[in-house]
Each structure stands twice: as structure tokens, then as C-alpha cells.
């Protein structure tokens, strides 16, 4: 095989070969970077969607919604249902929630106000909220605790005021939560939100009930029981697991992201084609150089490694640029896709960035193999005659 000194010499030579052909190298790297940017960004969106909509084992959260209503403005349920739901076997906690969104359609910058009773919120979010923030929130009727994505996106901190959807609130603090639905939410007092939005119905109307069950295995059973209980009522309900609720609301977005994933695959194909094309053209114009190296004692293995190294360097550099650009774009833009009051956050992911670089390098390696074999098999004498 080859020793460490030869290997480092081959990397040096490959790197020189690329650096001394800056236009060709720059164009190929730019193409790979754009493709990997696309791949990583689509992958981040797609993993955000999966995180929010895939049914998870051990899921205990249900959402009770008005039957056949698909927007927080039209889903109206009497707050008095709370007691009925609480009495259904298997239910652990019930939180009446009033949701007001700044935009009901699919959008990237939506604020979701969640009006919840103070005691329910204090119970459910104690570990995610600093004691000072919780105290500030409990002590003011117009206080809001913000989800991390929303706070980062609007650059809000405790003590600020902000207005959205006609609601003006005081920022008591920011909660630390990984839950997708919390990301773009502003938690306010239920009575405050009901008061602010008299026009949306009477004071005792809520949008939905967030229910926790005692046992994940009973999720379906409890959901059926709740809907059965209100079936004959004036406001019948539809109860779903939280992930299913998000998935239903996000149908359009899921379809779009599915299509975007195809674009991501096209991006990967582009990386392969770009590198293969660059290396094939490059080697075709360097037959003489290959013969020179062979004359100087480079073996087939040396030559094949040289070609493959050039390909992998191209893919690696382009991949790193594209993945970093995607990571920082996502981190800076802080996108959350929100529709019908549910949110899908798109968080930056170091794992996806590393995966993107790895894919770029692996595809480049694959693209370099055939040209490497061709170069290593070249007849010395024929190369000089070309």
C-alpha cells in the first residue's frame, strides 16, 4: 500500500492542482455549495415537520377541537366543558386554551397567543420557566411568557412590550422548551385574552382543550370517550393526539415539504454530476500530466488516489460552505411554519450540517472513482502522444 509520507504528498498535489485552476475549482465548489445549501435547508424543514407531526411512542397529549373547524377563529368551545372532560376516566389534566393567531394561513412569522388559566400553566411549565419570570407573569394580568423561537425571532426579552393580532402584552420572560408547539407561542392569562377579544365570542369561550392522559396506551380510548360525551351537544368535538392534530392542520405544508425533499434529492444528484463532470473534463485535458507522473514512478494506486482526493476535496469544501451557509441562515432567520394555529419550528441542526458535508464528500468520492480508474489505467506512451 502507501505510506503516510506518500499519502500526505498526494493530498498536497491534489490541493495544488485545485488551487492553481481557480476558476474551474471555484465554479465547481460554488455549484456544490448551492446544492448542499438546498439539501441541508430542505432536510432541516423536513426534520422539523417530522418532529412535530410523527406520532411518538409514549405520547400523552390530546387536543380537543370543535368538530369540522380548522382554524382557531372558528373553533369555539364552551369553557364549561373543562369539568366534563376532567371527569372522563383516564384524563390526567385539562387545560382550556384560547388561541389567537396573527395570521390563520400558512405563514413563516406567526404569533400564537395561548390563553391558559394561571394555575394550569404554573403546573405544566414550572420546570421550563425561571422563578423570576414565573413570578412576573403571575403578578401581571397582561403578562406573556414567550416561546424561545418567537423571542429569538422578534428579539424580545423580559420587560419588553409587544403587539400582535391586536393584543398588546408585557413580556414577563422566555420559557425554555423543546416542544414544537411552544416555540412560537406567547402564553398569556386566559381571562386576559378572552377580555381582549370580546369580538371573538363571549367571555367564556375557548378554542381547544389540551388534555393529558394518565397512560399513553389509553390515548385513543380517552379521545373516543371525549368525542362521544359531546356528540349530542351544541358544540360537538373532535379529539386527536397532538401530533395528529398538527399533522392535520399542516397537510399542505407536509405536501410542500415532501416536494421540497425531491428538490433535495435533485441537489444530491447535482453534486454527483458536478463533480463527475469536473473530474472527467479535468482528467481528459491532463492525459499528458498523468503520463509524466507515471514516468516519474507514480503507480496506478498513487494516480487513482490523486484523482479521488481532488474529487473529495471539491466535495468537502463545497459541502462545508453550503452546510454552514444553511446552518447560519436557519439560525438567523429562525423560521417557524405556522398554519391554522399550529407551528412547525425549523431549528438549525449541527447533525444535518455534518450529514450534508458527509453526503457531499461521499458523492464526490463516488463521482471520482471511475475517472480515477480510467486515469490509473492510461498507457504512458499514449498519453504523451495525445
Amino acid at each position: 500500500m502507501i505510506g503516510a509520507r506518500e499519502a500526505s504528498g498526494i493530498v498536497t498535489l491534489a490541493w495544488r492542482g485545485l488551487r492553481r485552476r481557480p476558476t474551474r475549482t471555484g465554479l465547481v465548489i460554488a455549484g456544490i455549495a448551492v446544492a448542499i445549501f438546498l439539501v441541508c435547508t430542505v432536510d432541516a424543514m423536513s426534520s422539523g415537520v417530522k418532529r412535530a407531526t410523527r406520532a411518538a411512542a409514549g405520547e400523552t397529549a390530546l387536543v380537543v377541537y370543535r368538530q369540522n373547524r380548522f382554524c382557531p377563529f372558528t373553533s369555539q368551545l364552551p369553557q364549561s366543558y373543562e369539568q366534563d372532560i376532567r371527569n372522563i376516566p383516564g384524563v390526567s389534566t385539562v387545560t382550556p386554551v384560547k388561541i389567537v393567531v396573527s395570521n390563520c394561513r400558512a405563514s413563516l412569522d406567526v404569533v400564537t397567543f395561548r390563553g391558559v388559566p394561571a394555575e394550569d400553566f404554573a403546573r405544566d411549565h414550572a420546570t421550563e420557566t425561571s422563578p423570576e419570570a414565573m413570578k412576573a407573569w403571575l403578578s401581571r394580568s397582561d403578562a406573556a411568557l414567550l416561546g424561545p423561537e418567537l423571542a429569538a425571532r422578534r428579539r424580545l426579552v423580559g420587560g419588553d412590550r409587544f403587539t400582535a393580532a391586536g393584543v398588546d402584552a408585557f413580556v414577563a420572560g422566555v420559557i425554555e422548551s423543546d416542544t414544537p408547539q411552544d416555540q412560537s407561542s406567547a402564553f398569556v392569562h386566559l381571562s386576559f385574552l378572552q377580555e381582549q377579544l370580546k369580538r371573538g365570542g363571549t367571555g367564556t369561550v375557548v378554542t381547544q382543550f389540551d388534555v393529558r392522559v394518565t397512560d399513553p396506551a389509553r390515548l385513543e380510548e380517552v379521545a373516543t370517550a371525549i368525542d362521544a360525551h359531546f356528540a349530542a351537544d351544541q358544540s360537538p368535538t373532535t379529539t386527536r393526539a397532538e401530533t395528529a392534530h398538527v399533522a392535520r392542520a399542516a397537510t399542505d405544508v407536509i405536501a410542500l415539504v415532501g416536494f421540497a425533499e425531491l428538490l433535495g434529492l435533485a441537489g444530491l444528484a447535482a453534486v454527483f454530476a458536478l463533480v463527475a463532470n469536473a473530474i472527467v473534463l479535468s482528467m481528459r485535458s491532463r492525459e499528458r500530466e498523468v503520463s509524466i507522473l507515471q514516468t516519474l514512478g507514480f503507480t496506478r494506486l498513487h494516480l487513482a488516489l490523486l484523482v479521488v482526493t481532488e474529487a473529495v476535496l471539491l466535495g468537502g469544501i463545497g459541502g462545508v460552505i453550503g452546510a454552514l451557509a444553511s446552518y447560519f441562515t436557519i439560525a438567523f432567520v429562525r423560521t417557524a411554519m405556522t398554519m391554522e394555529g399550529v407551528s412547525i419550528a425549523v431549528p438549525p441542526s449541527a447533525f444535518i450540517a455534518v450529514l450534508g458535508v458527509g453526503l457531499a464528500m461521499a458523492l464526490s468520492l463516488a463521482a471520482g472513482i471511475v475517472p480515477a480508474i480510467i486515469a490509473s489505467r492510461q498507457s504512458i506512451v499514449a498519453g504523451f502522444r495525445s
Binding site: R5, E6, T12, R16, I292, T295, G297, H302
Partner: protein, 233 residues
């Protein structure tokens, strides 16, 4: 002169090419012995097989038949990889058209063959500087081939050929593309390498004025060797 060991021994060497279903016999039943330390000029009309013979001696092409022992090695039996390793150690090749790698500087071109030798960076640097100095081109380390004159390019190519300290230096019309003054400089350089380091050189030329620098001249005609003025060794 004491018994001198041969560095090259060709016996009944043959090289044929197939071209359009027809066999072109470039070299036929060629016998040639060259002793270590000799400077041999190989002459002959264009198309007589000079480059072909040199390529066989360098191990960059394979004979169709016959024996070929170079530097103590029967190179007809070596595998491709073994032949490459052998070339790296034993042969320095100088081309008529220099064949420097255009995207590498003079220094890097000379460094090139050392990448397949297991030597340290420091040693590599020392050898490259020494080689460039011995071809009087020390002030052009960072120049690319396109920034050098033909004579300077050929000097860099010679430095690249001798930097590995090969047993055998092969040159294919090394002055064929140069003006008179540069050609004289190159011949002076080859002569000096031969005199001062006892370097074995086989040089193809069709210029009798160039051939006078050699100790011995062999003529190749229609694939056969003719030696006009006896043997110097």
C-alpha cells in the same frame, strides 16, 4: 579499462505495433550493451525507432519480445506496480518538449518525483535545492513553466530527472526544440553531469554537432543498430 559492468543489456529486442491490421516492426532483433558511466548518443533518421527504444529502456513501454536488463533488473518480467517503483529509483527521463506540469512552479516540478520516495520534507527540500542549483536555475524557484524560456524549462526538467539520483539518465532530443545558445548550455550541463558524477546518459539526437559530446554514438536504421566508428568502451 577494467571490466565494467553493463547497465543496459538488450538482447534480440523487438517492438511491433499493430496499425490497421498491419504489423509495424519498429525494432527488430536489436542487441545493445551499454556500460555504467557511458555517455551514448543514439542517432538515426526520423521514424527509425529512437523514441521507441528509449521508452523501452525507461520501462514506460514494453518490448514485444527479447531480453532487457537495466540496472541489474530484468524489467520485462516486472509487474506494472513493480515497474513503476523501479522507474522511480532507476530512471531519469528528459523529454524534447520538457513536459513540465504547467500548474506547478519550477521548484514543485522538481519536487514531484520525490513524493513517491519515502524521505522527509527537510530532505526533499535539500535535494530539490541542490538539483536546481546544479542546473543553474536557483533564482527561478517560484516561476511557472510559462514564465521560463525553453532553455530554462529544459534545465528544470533535467533537475527533475536527476533529483532522485537515478542510475540511468535518458534524454530524447533534449535540445531539439532549443535555439543554438540554449542547446549548447544544455549539452554543457549534460556533459558536466557525466564528467563530474559519472552519470550514465543515453541521449537521442539527430544533430551530429550534439552527438560529439557523447563518448559513443550508435545509429538506428530501420530497426537495426549500426555502430560506425567502433566502440569507445
Amino acid at each position: 579499462m577494467a571490466t565494467v559492468e553493463p547497465i543496459i543489456r538488450c538482447s534480440s529486442l523487438e517492438k511491433h505495433y499493430e496499425r490497421g491490421g498491419e504489423t509495424v516492426r519498429v525494432l527488430e532483433k536489436l542487441d545493445l550493451t551499454i556500460t555504467r558511466g557511458q555517455f551514448v548518443a543514439l542517432m538515426g533518421p526520423s521514424g527509425s525507432g529512437k523514441t521507441t527504444l528509449l521508452n523501452l529502456l525507461a520501462g514506460i513501454d514494453r518490448p514485444t519480445a527479447g531480453g532487457l536488463v537495466v540496472d541489474g533488473q530484468d524489467i520485462t518480467t516486472l509487474s506494472r506496480a513493480a515497474l513503476a517503483h523501479w522507474r522511480a529509483r532507476s530512471v531519469g527521463y528528459i523529454f524534447q518538449l520538457y513536459h513540465l506540469v504547467p500548474v506547478l512552479t519550477a521548484y514543485e516540478n522538481v519536487e514531484l518525483p520525490l513524493y513517491v520516495h519515502n524521505i522527509s520534507r527537510r530532505e526533499r527540500h535539500r535535494r530539490v535545492c541542490e538539483a536546481l542549483e546544479s542546473v543553474s536555475i536557483s533564482d527561478r524557484h517560484a516561476h511557472y513553466p510559462s514564465q521560463l524560456s525553453g532553455g530554462q524549462e529544459q534545465r528544470v526538467a533535467i533537475a527533475r530527472a536527476i533529483v532522485t539520483q537515478p542510475s540511468l539518465l535518458l534524454a530524447d532530443e533534449p535540445t531539439g526544440d532549443l535555439d543554438r545558445a540554449s542547446a549548447a548550455g544544455i549539452m554543457e550541463l549534460l556533459g558536466r553531469l557525466h564528467r563530474e558524477h559519472g552519470q550514465t546518459i543515453v541521449m537521442v539526437t539527430h544533430d551530429p554537432a550534439t552527438a560529439v559530446h557523447a563518448q559513443r554514438t550508435v545509429h538506428l536504421d530501420k530497426g537495426r543498430l549500426v555502430e560506425p566508428h567502433g566502440v569507445a568502451s
